[in-house]
Symmetry: C2
Subunit: 441 residues, 2 copies
């Protein structure tokens, strides 16, 4: 093979980074591969972006279709985002025998199974390191580095926007709206931040990681999701008094029969390695049955970190092409992952520890009424703080529980919120604390 | 290919772990590879180990040579440690066309270039994920995941024994000897702990990582090494007062022209991610020009974490064999790394921040004399603590410096140690603190 030609669809922030590295680092990549890696064509509808990229104008076309029709391109990089057009383009590229590299987590979470099957049929590769945690080589680690392990647990800070917001709220005691506005001003949050703050983006990424970790089809629908919208800084303070930080965690666990899959604001011990991951950083903490606990952390987004991941995929696919092999490794590390389905436990059956903040009338017997309802549902209290009088005569009562079943918690809170001495709704967050687990035993 | 056969030389702790995973997880590996991965033969001189392994006695031979002579074995795993016999065995295996997987960092640090050249000549692979940081997939990350980056800096906690000793000293204010004895009792330190506590093991690993990170031949001799032997808990306390933790760091930096390569006890800010890596854990914190800062941490030793890494190598080589390809990727990620030599800056020319503890007579003018000598060598003081009277009339004066050149520091300390008011030798440690760097500017 004389040279390997790459086409890039979408020349926004990441696309420009990818194009720049391909051009500027051509000599280093040639040294690694033995053959030149050439940026052959770039599709970009916005002429201003093409002009701003500093690349030769002759490289550009406004039509992605031109790249699909170009017989010289071996690898197509999809960087337009979104799920509908991206899906059509990726499927069309695969059908034409082109290898695809994508950074698009929503696409893979929603259409990954279809895309992986199409790639298998076409005998080409789909690589997606940049779709989860930007520059952190977590896909590579799960697909190859930990291949001998059964993964027991995976906890991730998979969304930099929400981690930035929570970090700013915790550091400077900012209200949610102020921290969000700051994240938007810094370019960490979109004008419409819903996908990030509602946890959907993190859930997309968790669904992808779980397929790799547990050798199973992608099952985004099975992930329970709640976000950080409207989180009260008061709860960050109480969490800290109990020794916890609050992070939007993506959590999955493998109990042998079933998997857990959930994204929600979570209290974690302040000395947990994930608690130290601040600002827009991402991290994955996992436990493999052989490797034990492992942490990977780094930049989860941004032009060059994401481009670094895209390029690692391009180099990997290009090396196979240079050797004349295709699909050395299936996208999820195992062909079996395309057909296996691992059942996911409904959230109602999850057993974990909880944080509650009740707004209670400051009267004798309130705590007894609340704890009576909790006891009825087999929820036992590990710690409680009752604070001084607040506005409207309601005082916060904050509790940490031993392990309890989610369904019991939901029922208990509904019953407590009907008590005349409680001002609903009660605030509830889940806790990940290995020490609290073992304290129960 | 009907099946891929693996031979294991050395059935100690790690060897038993590797053999166990190969046998117990055969079905999962077959699913991943498409062909069976078979443990074909185990060489172990100690009959007791063979008996204790629980493996079929027919698998065992006391002679490693039997594995080299066995035409059915495709991959040989070297787990005997040491450098002389291991070198001979590995070279012999390569010469016979067998692929080699090894966990032996000393072997690669001292004979890696020779071994990699022999593997290139024979057209076979040498894989060594387990040689650095046990189960952490750092070799994979450098060899593939970060291939698009120029690495700017790499800081590592690469030796679990010393990290355990330092953690115990810091947590419970233990003297060095007590913490070492505890590490030995826990199985974290050898009866002769020299390779660990003197920093040699960490330097072996740094030399390997640098070859991958900077696409250069292995150059162990160029690594400056000092260990933690005799470190005084007093210095851990003073470091803490300045906001630092003390870790045995392996440090390398790329200034474009030359590399830095050194292993020594180092003060790092207590909020640095590496400061949170405690006990026998390992970690690598690196900065790539595209990916930015990245941390990987996990178990750096132990039966199953190390076996996890060995198996990831076996699976990688086996996949190539199953596809009929050899040497898909050179051992260091680039064939050029076998011939390129990146010069390493002598320690004397390194510029960094320093911690000094002077034992000074409690007299007026002492600080002025000491700081006078420092000023003469262009060493400026960022912070100083002088503590109350100690035994023999000497009091500790503890300083943090701005950036200074190592040669100047060595000369200044030699001169200060000749002052009549100072009781030599002055304690000196280096600091890695990005904030202190920038404070200078």
């Amino acid at each position: 093979m004389a040279a390997i030609h790459v086409g890039v669809i979408g020349c926004g922030t990441v696309g420009q980074g990818v194009a720049r590295l391909l051009v500027e680092r051509a000599e280093a990549f040639r040294r690694r591969l033995g053959v030149p890696l050439v940026l052959g064509r770039v599709a970009e509808v916005e002429a201003a972006r093409a002009a701003a990229s500093g690349l030769a104008p002759s490289l550009f076309t406004p039509r992605a279709q031109d790249l699909l029709d170009d017989p010289d391109l071996d690898i197509v990089v999809e960087l337009i985002g979104g799920t509908e057009t991206a899906r059509e383009l990726v499927l069309a590229a695969l059908a034409r025998g082109k290898h695809v590299v994508t950074a698009n987590k929503a696409l893979l979470a929603l259409h990954g199974n279809e895309i992986f099957e199409a790639a298998a049929q076409a005998g080409v590769e789909v690589a997606f390191e940049a779709s989860v945690c930007g520059g952190i080589p977590i896909i590579l680690a799960l697909r190859q580095g930990l291949a001998a392990n059964r993964l027991q647990e995976l906890l991730g800070i998979l969304n930099g926007t929400t981690n930035y917001i929570l970090s700013r709220m915790a550091e400077d005691n900012l209200p949610y709206d102020t921290a969000l506005a700051e994240a938007q001003a810094q370019g960490y949050a979109e004008a419409d931040p819903s996908l990030d703050v509602d946890g959907v983006d993190a859930a997309h990424k968790l669904a992808i990681l779980m397929a790799l970790a547990y050798e199973t089809r992608i099952d985004f629908e099975a992930v329970s999701v709640s976000g950080i919208r409207g989180l009260d800084p008061l709860d960050l303070q109480f969490a800290r008094e109990f020794g916890y930080a609050v992070k939007l965690l993506a959590i999955s666990r493998n109990d042998g029969d079933r998997l857990e899959a959930r994204v929600h604001p979570t209290l974690i011990p302040r000395d947990h390695l994930l608690a130290g991951v601040s600002g827009a950083m991402n991290a994955v903490h996992l436990i493999g049955d052989a490797v034990g606990p492992l942490l990977l952390s780094g930049a989860g987004a941004g032009q060059l970190p994401t481009a670094s991941a895209v390029l690692s995929d391009i180099l990997d696919v290009a090396r196979n092409l240079s050797l004349g092999i295709r699909r050395r490794l299936p996208p999820l590390g195992s062909e079996a992952a395309l057909t296996r389905r691992r059942p996911v436990k409904p959230l109602a059956e999850v057993v974990t520890n909880y944080y509650f903040r009740f707004a209670a009338l400051d009267r004798p017997g309130v705590l007894s009424q609340i704890s009576g309802v909790l006891a009825k549902y087999q929820i036992s209290i590990a710690a409680v703080i009752q604070k001084g009088r607040e506005v409207k005569g309601a005082v916060p009562i904050v509790m940490i529980t031993h392990e309890a079943r989610e369904a019991d918690v939901q029922q208990a809170l509904a019953e407590i919120d009907r008590l005349p001495v409680v001002s609903p709704p009660t605030v509830m967050y889940r806790i990940e604390d290995p020490h609290l687990h073992s304290a129960r035993i």
